[in-house]
């Protein structure tokens, strides 16, 4: 047996110290992703620091400098978060994104922090017998030219075409959430948009966090626009499947005209993709199918597709149209 030490940290500071000081150490949340990686040989840490029971706090409303926020402790299970009454009432996109993910059993076990930091599901990343730059920098990318159905169409690089798999992260990107972390230099507040990164020439790094930087909480502004928000996840199998593409959206209309819109996409890039160009195109305009299609096209003008990913453009367009028109209908109803 490969021996790895297991430590249940008694404080966040201790956890950070243990992991930051050891390049082969890792935080352990619910383990639904990391334990799979241990079995597959994708991750080979020699120290596991269990952070699931740290007193990160639950789900609480707080007053922030810019208005009320919902503070979510990093250890809150996905299922608890999805069931929280404030989440359900004021951040429906968040509840729906969570419930669209994984299975009931996995959602019970998975933590908020672990969900955001779960790694790509690219089949080559998970198969240690094939080259993968994310797993083994410099070895090559097998996904380009290989099984490509889930590959990125935005922001990919020659070294990596993987997508980020989290549904929760897409919803949080649309909601302008802030991730609170603790590192050796103390606490940091990272906007969701800056948490995950594009692969560029360092695909081994999923996020902008330093090794040993611990996610302690997520703060979600409780805005009015978020009350009318939803999540659309497109997949062949009706449940228990990662997104082919997904759309997190929030909409505030003035009659037919868009006062404010938030749009983030999953399944298209190495990070949740906040579609700011599309938001700009939609804001102040009358909401209709043609306008949404044009806005999506503007955002996708840089998209790069191949035989296996070409479908994502019409699928994402259709899913975005559907999501926004549904929200508009909800609003008028």
């Amino acid at each position: 047996m490969r021996a790895a030490e297991y430590v249940r940290a008694s404080s966040a500071e201790e956890a950070v110290g243990l992991v930051a000081g050891n390049p082969d150490a890792a935080f352990l949340g619910g383990g639904t992703n990391l334990v799979d990686h241990l079995k597959l040989g994708v991750a080979r840490p020699d120290l596991l620091v269990d952070v699931r029971r740290l007193p990160f706090g639950g789900v609480e409303q707080q007053d922030g400098p810019d208005g009320p926020v919902l503070r979510i402790g990093a250890g809150v299970p996905n299922s608890d978060l999805a069931a929280d009454p404030v989440v359900r009432g004021r951040l429906p996109v968040l509840a729906r994104a969570l419930l669209a993910g994984a299975s009931g059993q996995i959602r019970h076990q998975a933590t908020t922090g672990g969900n955001l930091l779960q790694r790509t599901r690219c089949v080559y990343f998970q198969d240690v017998t094939t080259p993968c730059n994310k797993r083994e920098p410099g070895s090559g990318c097998s996904a380009a030219g290989g099984y490509g159905r889930y590959n990125a169409i935005l922001g990919a690089s020659e070294t990596c075409v993987a997508t980020h798999p989290s549904d929760l992260a897409v919803a949080l990107a649309a909601l302008d959430a802030v991730v609170v972390t603790l590192g050796t230099d103390g606490e940091r507040r990272v906007p969701m948009a800056d948490l995950h990164r594009l692969p560029e020439d360092a695909p081994e790094r999923d996020t902008t966090l330093a090794h040993g930087e611990l996610v302690t909480a997520v703060e979600v502004p409780l805005t009015d626009v978020a009350r009318r928000s939803t999540y659309t996840k497109v997949r062949d199998r009706a449940s228990y499947a990662f997104a082919l593409v997904s759309v997190a959206a929030a909409l505030d209309l003035d009659g037919d005209t868009v006062r404010e819109v938030r749009l983030a996409w999953g399944g298209v890039a190495h990070k949740p993709w906040r579609a700011r160009r599309a938001e700009e195109a939609l804001t102040g305009a009358v909401l209709d199918e043609a306008g949404i299609e044009a806005a999506v096209a503007a955002e996708l003008s840089d998209a790069v597709t191949d035989d296996q990913t070409a479908y994502k453009v019409p699928m994402l367009t259709g899913a975005t149209v559907q999501t926004l028109l549904d929200l508009a209908a909800e609003e008028t109803a």
């Binding site: 047996m1 079995k39 599901r121 009706a238 449940s239 228990y240 453009v313 699928m315 259709g318």
Partner: protein, 711 residues
């Protein structure tokens, strides 16, 4: 036990329990976790202190192993031995290229067994397996099926059908046909993926008269494992004991032993007398335990203006492994499904450096009827005919290929009854006619067929016990189908006692020989044999036998030796919805009506038929083993990337059957039900998706991208 079996011709039984809803006799053990599966056997069963074996598999698709560095693995904590082709015990017979592992340095496909580790725990074994350093001389490999590469003509196709057939003049008939459909249909590689992975516990014992290899295996055929392994190991068949008390599904992939069983036997020989446990991982199953080959079907149908078929041509291109040939009989059902004076079928294989394909639920019928029944839908459209009506117009009076009379071909009744129960009437003739909310809605149908088989090589023993009870023994295997339950019912009725007076024993080579749980033949083959034994027993020992009275018998009748065509039939109806903006496909309704002879137990039969429909639905919408030809292996090699239908996909799925009894086929009146549910189902879904959208998909699975113009 050594007495020769009595030859007895069974006569139809008077049914009492047969046909009723007896609950599974082993249900309690299963739901309470007391049922011991293949690697859940310890000291109580004679497998004390078992070591765990872990397979090391090749990471190249073709070449030679030049060295195996076992030092790090051997030094790992808990490791007892590391075996490779230089150190594994020798096999006496290496003819079977799939099974003759660890005998030479050749690598025939990526994922082949090249070494194995034996350790005290699974964790040690697994870690040490990752420390074994294998070096290769790599050779160029070929792993992609194309029509051009499929040029090899096998001598026969599975199990022993003619490779080609040619009747009349297909080309002339097509040239004259009023309507022609000429299209190509594709199905992907698919993996059986039973819930329980392939797994074996093995120990070599020496009793007084020599060595015995004792196995508990997750198999569909205990005697088949013994007869395959014995000569390879230089043993007599009775020196290999195989038990399979409980098996968590197989779908054909456990019909024959695969390389891991040999690995377990070799490993156990090496560490004898310690037992060895070997469970194949889910990922390894994608290379080691069989799969359905991808198929390319070139179909040409010719018909007159009324839709009467004048020509049927089905040319199949598929693949097998260079190391062992398996030719899926994809075009064989096309030879009998419909009438046409001119018919031609053929099978050509690409022989590739890939894992060995094998049986997967309805080999041949599943991909073949898919192609034929989508083509029939296209023909109905081209002729402006209702798809049900088209099938009715093409009913053959006799088996087209042999000229033999049908034994009760009831496809028309299945079609009529299915149409009525499903609510087929009133369906818009045009495709893309119904939009409900954001979903295009359509309905489709397909015919299903499966041959009725009864296998030879079966014997059953009936022994009188005290108190009016009977022991009934046959080495059949219940792979989760309910065989234990239905054989208890058959035995009870044949003996004319209650089911609670029967102690049925199955799943052990110490019991009388039995054929494989495959080809939908189990119930008919084993059941007929049990009836023969029970009737012979009554003849010999009467109604009030003394305890210990015993008969061992074989069934002497042979329906398949007569000039009658025995087949089961069915009709499948599906509703499909396709999202107009995202292309997502959902199947809210799926319904099949079957003619399968007498249903022995409505509960277990319903499970088999609905299970087949669900597996067909799963193949229609999701299943695809994506082989990366550059590497040579399937990269969607777990259940998170190889999707099978989940609960949310399985909505209103139901099956019914015609009340009937096929007394000419078996004394219970039963044929077989294990496979027909998967046949035609994917075609019905594809046809429904076409009716919903007007988009004709000719390859499986029918994923969302097909409806977005992006594929």
């Amino acid at each position: 036990m050594t007495a020769d079996p009595v030859q007895h011709t069974p006569t139809p039984i008077r049914v009492r329990s047969v046909g009723t809803r007896l609950e599974r006799v082993d249900g309690l053990e299963k739901v309470t976790g007391r049922a011991g599966y293949a690697v859940e056997h310890g000291a109580d069963d004679g497998f004390d202190g078992a070591l765990v074996a872990w397979l090391v598999t090749s990471t190249v698709a073709r070449g030679r192993v030049t060295s195996v560095d076992t030092a790090a693995a051997a030094a790992h904590d808990g490791v007892v031995a590391v075996l490779d082709h230089t150190s594994a015990p020798r096999l006496a017979d290496t003819d079977d290229g799939e099974l003759a592992i660890l005998q030479d340095p050749q690598v025939h496909f990526r994922g082949q067994v090249v070494a194995l580790v034996l350790a005290e725990t699974a964790e040690s074994a697994r870690e040490a397996a990752s420390l074994v350093e294998v070096s290769y001389d790599v050779e160029e490999h070929e792993a992609e099926l194309t029509e051009e590469a499929a040029t090899y003509r096998p001598d026969s196709v599975n199990p022993a059908f003619d490779t080609d057939s040619d009747t009349g003049d297909v080309d002339a008939a097509l040239a004259e046909a009023a309507v022609v459909v000429d299209e190509e249909y594709r199905t992907p590689h698919e993996h059986n993926n039973p819930m329980e992975p392939h797994a074996t516990t093995a120990v070599w014992r020496s009793d007084g008269d020599g060595e015995v290899l004792d196995l508990v295996d997750s198999t569909q055929a205990v005697h088949g494992v013994a007869s395959t392994l014995a000569p390879m190991l230089g043993l007599e068949q009775d020196q290999v004991r195989v038990r399979a008390p409980y098996v968590g599904g197989g779908f054909g992939s456990k019909g024959q032993p695969h390389a891991h069983v040999v690995a377990a036997a070799l490993a156990a020989r090496h560490v004898s007398p310690r037992p060895v446990r070997l469970a194949v991982t889910r990922q390894q199953m994608f290379a080691l335990t069989g799969y359905r080959t991808a198929t390319i079907s070139r179909m040409r149908l010719g018909a007159d203006a009324d839709g009467r078929l004048t020509a049927i041509e089905h040319r199949v291109f598929e693949q097998s492994s260079k190391v062992k040939e398996f030719a899926e009989q994809t075009a064989v059902p096309t030879r009998m499904l419909y009438a046409a004076p001119n018919r031609r079928t053929s099978h050509r294989l690409a022989m590739l450096d890939v894992a060995v394909p094998s049986w997967m639920r309805a080999p041949g019928e599943m991909p073949g009827v898919f192609a034929h029944e989508v083509a029939m839908d296209e023909l109905a459209q081209a002729c402006g005919l209702d798809p049900v009506e088209l099938r009715l117009r093409n009913e053959p009076d006799v088996d087209p290929e042999t000229g033999n009379p049908w034994n009760n071909r009831r496809l028309p009744e299945c079609l009529h009854r299915g149409a009525e129960r499903f609510g087929w009437a009133g369906r818009p003739a045009e495709a893309r006619a119904t939009l409900e909310g954001d979903w295009w809605v359509g309905t489709g149908m397909a015919a299903a067929t499966y041959p009725a088989y009864r296998q030879g090589g079966n014997a059953a023993r009936v022994t009188a016990l005290d108190g009016g009870r009977y022991a009934v023994a046959i080495g059949a295997v219940d792979i989760g189908t309910g065989a234990r339950t239905v054989l208890t019912q058959i035995a009870a009725d044949a003996l004319e006692v209650g089911t609670d007076a029967v102690d049925l024993e199955v799943g052990d080579t110490r019991l009388p020989s039995a054929s494989v749980a495959g080809g939908s033949s189990g119930t008919a083959s084993w059941g007929s044999t049990i009836v023969a034994a029970a009737q012979a027993f009554r003849e010999r020992h009467g109604d009030d036998p003394g305890a210990g009275a015993e008969v061992l018998a074989e069934a002497a009748d042979d329906p398949l030796g007569t000039d009658v065509a025995f087949h089961s039939f069915g009709a499948v109806f599906a509703e499909a919805r396709v999202h107009r903006r995202t292309g997502e496909v959902r199947v809210p309704r799926l319904f099949g009506v079957y003619s399968v002879g007498r249903v022995v137990n409505p509960v277990t039969a319903h499970s088999q038929l609905v299970g087949g429909l669900v597996m067909g639905l799963s193949a229609a919408l999701f299943e695809e083993s994506w082989r990366d030809a550059r590497f040579g292996h399937v990269v969607t090699q777990d259940l998170a990337s190889y999707h099978v239908a989940a609960h949310a996909d399985v909505r209103d799925v139901d099956a019914e059957w015609l009340e009937e009894s096929d007394d000419a086929f078996s004394p219970m009146g039963a044929r077989g039900i294990g496979e027909i549910g998967i046949v035609g189902t994917a075609a019905a879904v594809v046809n429904a998706a076409h009716h919903a959208t007007g988009v004709r998909v000719r390859s499986l699975p029918v994923t969302a991208d097909h409806f977005l113009g992006g594929r």
